[in-house]
Amino acid sequence: MFSYKAVYVIVMREFKRFFRQRGRFIVSMVRPLIWLFIVGAGFTKIIDVGEGADYIQFILPGIVGMTILFSSIFSTISVVWDREFGFLREMLVAPVSRVTIVVGKLLSGTALAVFQGTLLLFIAPILGLDVGVTDFLAMIFLMTMLALAITALGLFVAPFLTSLEGFNVIMNFIVLPMFFLSGALFPISAIPRAIRFLSFINPLSYGVDSFKHVLLPAGGRLTPEMPIVLDIAVIAVFAIIMTFSAAIVFDKKK
């Protein structure tokens, strides 16, 4: 039995937890600022880009992508967390279907990620980027797609993690490579040919690229590398496949 009320309350719970875990909240706000204003500002001084976007402007789409990546993955870790601390059972014995719980987790993870990504967009004018209302709305749409895709990926992986220790492994072997290979910090064309295929099977690459289409000024060396239609198509397909996979795995694995 699918229950909207249950979805609603699962989402509300995740938001409450997010704002109550001060540390998590602060880290998620400060981490992108460190990347932008320390790493980004530093490299801007030594990288000559000529025309078009500055380096610090160039990495904003990537940092938004990173924020969504970390937030989405961390949200799905709450499934592991809930299991470890027993709360998952409270949800599993309720007279609602497993799909309800998956949808609740999916929407809460997505909404939290988009919320954090949106806050970051307000930095764009400080960096000298011109973001109008249409750009803003386009970004919300694209961020939602990416957040949905990655939260679904996380939900698909989470049931296989038997403990919170598994989270560290995931962080180091999946999340960080995903970030570095996504074109967030340097163009994908700069990645060694031998491992470039990893960038092309990385959903984050398409998300970051789509953000570049919206946020970066035209021209120069640092531009989007793929057509936006391709970006959106890949992410949409990935999101759909992962959502179904997550629902199936969740149903099977408890």
């Binding site: 249950a6 309350v9 719970r13 937890r17 109550r20 409270e90 309720a94 609602v96």
Partner: protein, 332 residues
């Protein structure tokens, strides 16, 4: 009470884990409105059975019905008619007591108006009204348990399942939880099904099924079970247990069991028997004690061993034995 009165009906239940039978052909009835206890050592199949009744686990053969609904075919209806308190704490530490209850009410699709009234009512019953807006992580083990019982009753279930409800609580808190389970049962008229390996806890039940190695070996009220023991239990420590056992058999026609480096046997009119024992025995007696039969004795009598702290399932944490050594529930 008659069959039509049963709210839980289990017939020939078998559950295997990797080919090994954990529950081996169990049948029993739980009657509407009673407190029914499942007493047995860890690993006897108690939690497995409760998980099957709650539709959290499938089974291999037999039939299981709760509130008239088949646990396999109508799991949704079963879930709507039951409330659960698990062995481990399943509250959200980062929500308040009130928010935990509210979460539950949404999951069980309760009406908003009744929810508010019932939450207030239950918080009052469990004595947590003053702490309603405090985060659960600040609660003690006993308070968490009480809140969980309140949550289990929030949607007015027909049956409240309690899996080792006082595991790891200190004796005083334990008594408090019992009185309060009884109080809520009287108030709401729900049936209670609980598992335990504490004898005192089984004494709270109207009827008790003793389960060992996946089978029910006795099922009756605690009083009847004790009466079946006939007489008192005498526990004896001697210089030579083997010889003492032989003498008991020859001189008094009593079968003694070796337990904990001593001998234990039952005899009618135990107080009067002790002087005769001292006269008759050729072995030096180091200590002697007499006990009215407890459920523990019933268990020993039926299985030939004590309910002991055995290795628990890997999920559950340190199991505090009864008494002041009992551990906190941890994971605060």
């Amino acid at each position: 009470m008659s069959e039509n009165n049963s709210i839980i009906k289990v017939r020939g239940l078998v559950k295997k884990y990797n080919g090994v039978e954990a529950v081996r052909g169990v049948s029993f009835d739980v009657y509407s409105g009673e407190i029914f206890g499942f007493l047995g050592p860890n690993g006897a199949g108690k939690t497995t059975t409760i998980n099957i009744l709650c539709t959290l686990l499938g089974y291999d053969s037999g039939s299981v019905a709760v509130n008239g609904f088949d646990c396999r075919k109508s799991s949704h209806e079963v879930r709507s008619s039951i409330g659960l308190v698990f062995q481990e704490i399943t509250l959200d530490n980062q929500l308040t007591a009130y928010e935990n209850l509210k979460f539950h009410s949404y999951m069980y699709n309760m009406e908003r108006k009744t929810t508010k009234i019932r939450i207030e009512e239950l918080l009052e019953v469990v004595g947590l009204t003053a702490r309603r807006n405090d985060l659960v992580r600040e609660f003690s083990g006993g308070m968490k348990r009480r809140l969980e019982v309140a949550r289990g009753l929030l949607h007015r279930p027909k049956v409240l399942f309690l899996d080792e409800p006082t595991l790891g609580l200190d004796p005083q808190t334990r008594k408090h939880v019992w009185s309060f389970i009884e109080k809520t049962r009287k108030k709401f008229g729900n049936t209670v099904f609980m598992t335990t390996h504490y004898m005192e806890e089984a004494d709270v039940c109207g009827r008790v099924a003793i389960i060992d190695n996946g089978k029910i070996i006795a099922c009756d009220s605690p009083e009847e079970l004790k009466k079946s023991m006939k007489g008192e239990t005498i526990y004896l420590k001697t210089a030579d247990n083997e010889r003492a056992a032989r003498e008991l058999k020859e001189k008094f026609k009593l079968e003694a069991k070796v337990i904990d480096g001593g001998l234990s046997f039952n005899v009618a009119g135990g107080e009067k028997f002790i002087p005769r024992l001292f006269e008759g025995m050729g072995v030096e007696i180091n200590s002697i004690s007499l006990k009215r039969p407890s459920l523990e004795d019933v268990f020993i009598h039926l299985t030939g061993r004590e309910i002991r702290e055995e290795t628990a399932s890997p999920r559950s944490r340190t199991r505090g034995p009864g008494g002041p050594r009992g551990m906190g529930r941890g994971r605060g």
